[in-house]
């Protein structure tokens, strides 16, 4: 990170009266956590870094693939060729954009333990995930630690954004009651780049309000829109607060911080990919593993963050924390078997 503060750089933002010199100064002292460096995480991270935020922590478990390039704005073809992890590729580009921001990228799984460790000193969490399981963990962490967070989601040309502030707004549980099971849209609807930018614009605007102390201006509605069909709604959420909510109610039990550690395999939506996670955190010597595999006649390639194994009908990518992505199947048992066939 470079040192000092450059003022001309932010002159257009300082001239925006609700921010001004004092808002710019506040922004430079703030630390946000972005969970997920996919489409929304990428776009919100870039806006916040350009805006002069003090520090960003960004976490993602995945690496850059060809099909990401259509909408994930921090990444280039080179990142795909190098199979660069998204968090690391994001950090690389963000530093080219603004060397004055402190950027902490983490290649790993945003589980409850990890997130609990990351939120110390964080002023705001921005949702860049692609699944509800992680969002419910974020929701518990945010309300338990009294940190505002901003939900965003999109599919097809349809998206939404909602700001949650502990003690002030309902939480994601109040709104959805239960974790939505995946429906067909995720597998079949695809997504276009403009809706990503639209959702990210809403998230980033609310982030700027929160971080510059413009609390009166925060949008308390659930905003949802469809850019293809020209729909736009701002829905009041006042009536949704549930005083017995397990996350934000009087006797909050934070359910997603308890059971989450048990999940070991997860089918990633719409991608014919299973993620496998070890029982406990471990650190793997990728170099040794690559040697072993080569001896066994398995085609393997990689970089300092991961190894990619070409198996019969699947491809498996193993990260140094022992996590793996098995591509070419939605069969969790098969994925686990393949994983164990390599890692024992």
């Amino acid at each position: 990170m470079k040192e000092g503060i450059k003022v001309d750089r932010y002159s257009r933002q300082i001239r925006f009266r609700p921010i001004g010199e004092s808002g710019q100064q506040q922004l430079a002292e703030k630390h946000i956590l972005i969970v997920g460096a996919g489409a929304l995480g990428s776009s919100t991270a870039e806006m916040m870094v350009r805006s002069g935020i003090g520090k960003i922590t960004i976490i993602d478990r995945d690496y850059v693939e060809e099909s990401n390039l259509q909408r994930q704005q921090l990444f280039s073809e080179e990142d795909v060729e190098m199979k660069w992890p998204k968090a690391a590729a994001a950090e690389k580009r963000l530093k080219e954009i603004n060397g004055w921001v402190d950027i902490d990228s983490i290649v790993g799984e945003a589980d409850s333990m990890m997130l609990q460790n990351l939120v110390a000193g964080v002023d705001l969490i921005i949702d860049g995930t692609d699944n509800f399981e992680t969002r419910f963990i974020i929701n518990d962490i945010a309300f338990k630690n009294d940190i505002p967070w901003i939900y965003g989601g999109c599919v097809g040309s349809y998206g939404m954004s909602f700001v949650m502030i502990p003690g002030k707004t309902p939480c994601l549980q109040c709104l959805l009651r239960k974790v939505p099971t995946q429906n067909q849209t995720c597998e079949t609807a695809g997504v276009i780049a403009p809706i990503v930018q639209m959702v990210a614009a809403h998230q980033a605007a609310e982030a700027l309000k929160i971080l510059t102390g413009n609390t009166e201006d925060i949008s308390l509605g659930y905003r949802t829109f469809d850019l293809w069909r020209g729909q736009y709604m701002n829905i009041k959420t006042d009536t949704m607060h549930n005083e017995h909510c397990a996350t934000c109610g009087v006797d909050a039990s934070y359910p997603f911080l308890q059971k989450e550690n048990q999940t070991k395999t997860t089918v990633l939506c719409g991608r014919s990919t299973v993620q496998v996670r070890p029982h406990e955190k471990k650190t793997i010597s990728l170099q040794e593993l690559a040697l072993q595999a080569k001896k066994a006649g398995i085609t393997v390639s990689g970089n300092p963050y991961l190894l990619s194994f070409e198996l019969d009908d699947q491809r498996m990518v193993i990260f140094h924390d022992g996590r793996a992505l098995v591509h070419g199947t939605s069969d969790e048992a098969l994925a686990k078997k393949l994983y164990q066939s390599i890692l024992g």
């Binding site: 995480g41 949702d127 965003g152 939505p180 995946q182 429906n183 995720c186 701002n234 829905i235």
Partner: protein, 78 residues
Amino acid sequence: MEIKVLLFAHLQEEAGQAELIVDLDGSSVQDLLQQLGAVFEFSGLSQAMVAVNEEFADDATILNSGDVVALLPPVSGG
């Protein structure tokens, strides 16, 4: 009584239209959802969030003639 229903995301594709006027047989949001489910082959209708006149509502919410109901599926992409 007549209720206007706005459909979002895949519900719109499944119904083949963005807006419906429903002559509601019953009085609650639940009645409306049952009636729609009987006419269209919606996927995941039970998971959709329901807003009445731009305010979130639950199944028990009583509807009045002329109300505008929006059905909003939550989505996980990001």
